[in-house]
Amino acid sequence: MKNAQLHFRQPLQTTPFHAHTSAANKLNAWAPWAGYTTALNFGDETMEYTALRNQAGLYDLSPMVKYEISGPDAVRYLSRLTLRDVAKLAPGHVHYTAWCDDEGKLIDDGTLFHLPDGRFRLCCQERHLPWLMDSAIGFDVRVRDESEAVAALSLQGPCAYAVLARAGFADAKSLKPFQLAEYRLGKSGKVMISRTGFTADLGYELWTSPDKALELWDVLMEKGALHGLRPIGTTALNMARIEAGFMIANMDFVSATTALRPDRTRSPFDMALDWMIDFNKGPFNGRAALKREREAASTQWAFVGLDIDGNVEAEHALVYDNKKHEVGHITAALWSPTTKRNIALAMLRRPYHAEKSGNLWVEIYALRELEYHKLMVKAAVVPRQFFNPARRRATPPGMM
């Protein structure tokens, strides 16, 4: 009992891979994520990013918040909770989803896994147990936080399948994007592999129990060496996710459960997630408000990709119409090494995302040797998927 109370000595927990990640972390560069110590980068972040886009990278995904949902009403419950129709999600499949409060404002987005044994796993950025439990009232389901009970790795990059095959998971060849299956690990272990990821490239996520974590890391790193596999930190992964155009709660939008200021919440329409909304599946959280928003066409914001002139990154910049009138702000920005474009994710007031998007400018304060250059640079609204190669979808997957 007493030991359980000593967390003040080590406020951040370590993941099941810590013994290995800490040995590999040459720079001792760590950052907190969801209560865990996680590697920002292990060595040179440019090399890590390059491995991710050229060979393969291995990322410790364990801090991701994970809820297990089971019971006879699980499907009905999840359809009520989230925007999509979960009846259409067969066992062995994953879908990207999001959920709202009763006002139709986004709480979080995440991936929903329908495991082979019928249980579900919901993975997301923030913690939502009270909301998930309140939403379960009237349903015969069990909701459990399994974040600590599952160790996870993300294996991403063009050589990701080659690494898997060499590490003994050649059967994963048949997995199409958003499919999953269970495989044997060593003599007694099990690992679930899903063809999912946060990089818009060929990639897999591997899920196992914490006691098998180091064994899984070892086999991947050992067999992957031939394919240039290296551990990557959050910095490199974040570069890839911006190129992929993916959003993160509380970075690109403020979750309705944390927003202090009433005007900070965003609807799925604002965030371009309205394609997920299934108005025909029956009642779900936020439905009435979302229906009103659609009918009144009252959406105020648009989450878009921007292609910005020049090569100076526009992190946290304001966006103007005609260089004068403020119409939005940038939530993430990057000079994209792979696409050779100066890209950004941005939140724009409508209709500056479309009809009136012809005269957009971004104000950048570029710090060069302790002095700021103030730039006003032209920007164009473009699709958010800046990087979207065919190898991402190819089944069977390529080997390089």
Partner: protein, 538 residues
Amino acid sequence: MSRYDAIVAGGGHNGLVTACYLARAGLKTLVVEKNDWVGGAAVSRSLHPGFTYSNCSYVSSLLRPEIMRELELPKHGLQILPYEGGAVFMKGGGYLAMYRDHEANRREFARFSPRDAESYDRYSRDVLRHCRFIRPLLLRTPPDPTSFRPRDLSELAFLGRKLFAMPEKDIYAMIRFWTMSISDFLDEYFETPVIKAYLAVSAIIGTALGPMSPGSAYVLLHHYMGDVDGNIGAWGFARGGMGSITQALMASFKAAGGEVRTGSGIEKILVRNGRTTGVALANGDEFTAPLVISNMDVKRTFLKHVEERDLPPAFVKSVKRFKIRGSSGKVNIALDALPRFPALPDDSPCIRGDMHFTDSIERLELAYDDWKAGHFSRDPFLDMMIPTTTDPTMTPPGKHFMSCFVQYAPPKIEGRDWTDADRDAFGQTVLNQIEEYSPGFKKLVLHAEVRTPRELEAEVGLTEGNIFQGELTFDQLLFNRPVPGYAQYRSPIEGLWMCGSSTHPGGGVMGAPGRNAAAEILRSLKKPAAMGEAYAVL
């Protein structure tokens, strides 16, 4: 007989704040304090050689940063130290810890309930949302809703705009929050008794309400709306004890040319033809001034030091009805060494924070039941702190000052006055409770100052020992504080003003009543006030 432009009656922190602003605006200002020292309930005194106590108030959060900056209190010696940690010791040997680190705290709550651990974030957000509404009102004079003066109208409009800028559901939530009990409010978020007990405390401190009394939730807000360097809801110590705040104010006042007289109180506020003309002291001295600003509570000011016949009867009746029931006591202890609490690991930061022994709302409510029956709680609630774990200036190294705020203690024992024997029994109840969780504690006690509402009233002049100069219930807030029609620091007597915690926005070492009063007075004199805008809530 000396003449002044303004006389402040009482040297509590609010009186000193008002005095500072008046002196800085060029008024010849005198502060008259009945005790031999200034400070009122924000005071540090040495009652045992080598030890300094925070005799009444003991932690700081509410003191407005605008005031600290404008009156240059840091230059005059004030330093506020944030502290960490906190714990509730439970019957049976366990404890709930509070940590500044968000993750450590989440995991601590999760030991009791994973759901409560996550609910805490939502709870904090909701309380913060309510604070964001209230905070901009602190440094503003409440509007008079019955007046049609342009300023009242524009202030009413300010309130209205703030209210209607909120989504409809937030308005409902706020009105519920302002009127409900803290127990009901916490039930909406939490299931663990000890977590609820810890969080309920801020709602009953200094209040003659139990955690199940409607209206107690608002009091919680009153304790959350301060900050330490922008960290909203955080509390800290004043280095050298709470008296450092009033010492810095006095130094600032004197630097602006102000005069302070201590050692003899005001007997009478002089009134001629409906106007004040000055004050007469208990020692016979008289001072004249066209302005007298009372730092005393509204009951003491008008029922003890002004002739009732000089006041409109309706006003006298409202003042008599003003609720000011005392509910708290204080035990200040000099310790030979740091006490050990076997439940806590030796390196736990909890010892540097606030420690409680009341592990359920029900126990807290039972403690209140004793108060209702006219007795001090047999199983009292203690807010226990050891400031010397952070502050090196109050005791010799290795020795400690322990501050115990105690509830509940009624103004009278079963209708009669407290006796010394009652007081000692009250003190023993407190020491016994600590000893239960820290065996050997009593042997460390070198000296103890036990203060019941009787002592608080006698020393600080807090009527019935109420620490906030009047209860902070919704019926006594905003334009109804202290009484309807007189929320703008004025009184029915021309030239007689109020600046103490009886006025908006109420008690605590906040300084806002004192600053608002000075602003109103200077406005009435058409003098520019050396005051900036209140800091915006972004």
